[in-house]
């Protein structure tokens, strides 16, 4: 199994002075320093980025030194970094290399149209027709779909908006302890209530911020870990990846895909929810942490709101979620986010997470969802 020997990040936030490649290079250098390995030891690299231009990984490689290694660029929306991590682990597991690197980068304002074009599509084109159909269906920002999911849950389970706001407040408290987090100002329930409405009923703090950043992780084979004297090893004991089926209705597709992906990961690891000590989740919107907490088997459907209110998902609680602040407050520059989750999990499993340390953390689960229905789950365990 792949063993994580190095993680690194460029803090999430605004970096107008750095290009996408600069952000990636910074993260890779931090991961190399953490692993005690030189760039020239890396045998293969996978780069996750969403709408960051052509071949960002190749540009990062060129900055670090032209070693001739294979570099693959992956765009899987928010799950791009997680996809890069999965491929790096598989390269090591296949035996084809001993040392693989995954990097993720993202920079606000670089996102193209979903169909790949720039600006407004030309009349008469297939893209123009698609956009007109979208206009008829009521175009919404991503927050719109999650606003509808929130409202539906409030209807089905009698929950109230403050319970969802508690996710944002909790994750902000976690982020205030994380120097890599983007949003570290104190935030109260009142602040969430009184913020501007993005998509009724969601206000700004119910939605993750945009930003810039980079994150990287280095994985090695068992053989190489022994050679390097890595102990205790942090192993990637599960890597699961699913896209949607028709099983779920439109409103619950991500939650249903999460159920399938997490189940596959538990089976690979031979574990269940009771064996997990902490979770990094795709909390791009507050409702998601509550939904996926249920999808992962940590509480019954309809009880996620109460679990958050009781502090069960806080550091010190029954199953801490988003210990680094989550997408909501650590930030979400798309490409690097899944690798920031790996970064946080590795620090926690090493017992090196400082004030936000989860006591006795041995097994961590990381979960990402990408727009269009991509879901990845990894489970990391310290020996």
């Amino acid at each position: 199994m792949a063993i994580v020997v190095g993680v690194g990040m460029v803090p999430f936030g605004r970096h107008p002075d750095k290009t996408v490649a600069d952000l990636g290079t910074g993260a890779v250098l931090a991961a190399l320093a953490d692993a005690g390995l030189p760039w020239r030891a890396i045998e293969v690299m996978h780069c996750g980025a969403a709408g960051a231009g052509l071949t960002p990984g190749t540009r990062i490689g060129a900055q670090l030194g032209l070693t001739g290694i294979p570099i693959t660029n992956i765009d899987n929306a928010s799950a791009s970094g997680s996809s890069a991590f999965r491929l790096a682990c598989r390269d090591v597991d296949s035996g084809s290399v001993d040392i693989a690197l995954a990097v993720g980068v993202g920079k606000f304002g670089r996102t193209l149209r979903l169909d790949g074009g720039v600006g407004a599509p030309e009349p008469g084109t297939a893209e123009y027709r698609e956009r007109q159909i979208g206009a008829m269906q009521g175009p919404l920002p991503p927050a719109g779909l999650f606003a509808m999911r929130t409202r539906r849950r409030m209807y089905e389970f009698g929950s109230n908006l403050d319970q969802f706001a508690q996710v944002a407040v909790k994750n902000r408290k976690h982020a205030m302890l994380n120097p890599y987090a983007q949003m570290r100002e104190p935030m109260t329930l009142e602040d969430v209530r009184n913020a501007r409405v993005v998509a009724d009923p969601l206000t700004v703090p119910h939605c993750c911020p945009v930003g810039d950043g980079g994150a990287a992780a280095i994985v090695v084979s068992e053989r190489k870990a022994r050679e390097l004297g890595i102990a205790p090893a942090i192993r990637v004991i599960a890597s699961a990846f699913r896209t949607p089926t028709l099983a779920g209705v439109m409103n619950a597709q991500d939650a249903d895909t999460t159920v399938a992906t997490v189940q596959a990961a538990y089976e690979q690891a031979g574990l269940g929810p009771r064996d997990i000590d902490l979770v990094q989740v795709h909390d791009a919107f507050t409702v998601e942490e509550i939904e996926y907490c249920e999808s992962m088997g940590f509480c019954e459907r309809g009880s996620g709101e109460a679990a958050v209110e009781r502090g069960e998902l806080s550091i010190g609680g029954r199953i801490p979620f988003s210990t680094d602040g989550g997408l909501l407050s650590r930030g979400h520059p798309l490409g690097p986010t899944g690798l920031a989750q790996v970064h946080e999990t590795v620090l926690q499993l090493r017992g090196a997470a400082g004030q936000r340390q989860v006591e006795g953390a041995r097994t961590g689960l990381v979960h990402m969802v990408g727009i269009g229905g991509v879901c990845l789950v990894h489970i990391l365990q310290r020996e």
């Binding site: 027709r129 007109q132 159909i133 206009a135 008829m136 269906q137 009521g138 175009p139 919404l140 920002p141 719109g144 606003a147 509808m148 999911r149 409202r151 539906r152 209807y155 409405v197 993005v198 998509a199 009724d200 009923p201 969601l202 028709l246 209705v249 439109m250 409103n251």
Partner: protein
């Protein structure tokens, strides 16, 4: 002298302003395997089959959930469930205060734009058939 051109859907094949019963209907595909989809598909998502026909979605449905779209004019956007199993998203012709989950709505044609030759272009929307309260 000018004759106003007849209104037509902004994009053909998405809905019909006046279907078999004279009412507006969304158009969905139905596969030989039974799966329905909106907008209509050429290849079935359930079985990958290509034996699909286009049919009218029931005129009336029920609001599953709703939100508002951004912009200077607040507009309600809803997911609407139909008796044939479909869920479709579209604008609602009512203020947020007059919309609720579970409300019955009907499909209507609404003018939204003009073509270069002056032809009014229509979209579909959902209109409450009962009060929200």
């Amino acid at each position: 002298m000018s004759v106003e051109p007849a209104a037509k859907p902004m994009v053909e094949g998405i809905f019909t302003p006046a279907g078999s019963d004279g009412l507006a209907h969304l158009l969905c595909s139905r596969c030989a395997c039974g799966a329905v989809a909106f907008p209509a598909r050429e290849r079935c998502a359930a079985c990958s089959g290509t034996d699909l026909v286009v049919e009218e979605v029931p005129n009336e449905g029920t609001i599953y959930s709703w939100t508002t779209s951004p912009g200077r004019t607040v507009r309600v956007v809803a997911q609407v469930q139909f008796a044939n199993g479909l869920m479709a998203q579209g604008h609602v012709t009512a203020e947020p205060a007059a919309v609720r989950i579970g409300q019955r709505v009907r499909t209507v044609a609404v003018p939204v734009d003009y073509a270069d030759d002056g032809t009014p272009l229509l979209s579909y929307a959902f209109e409450p058939v009962e009060e929200a309260a």
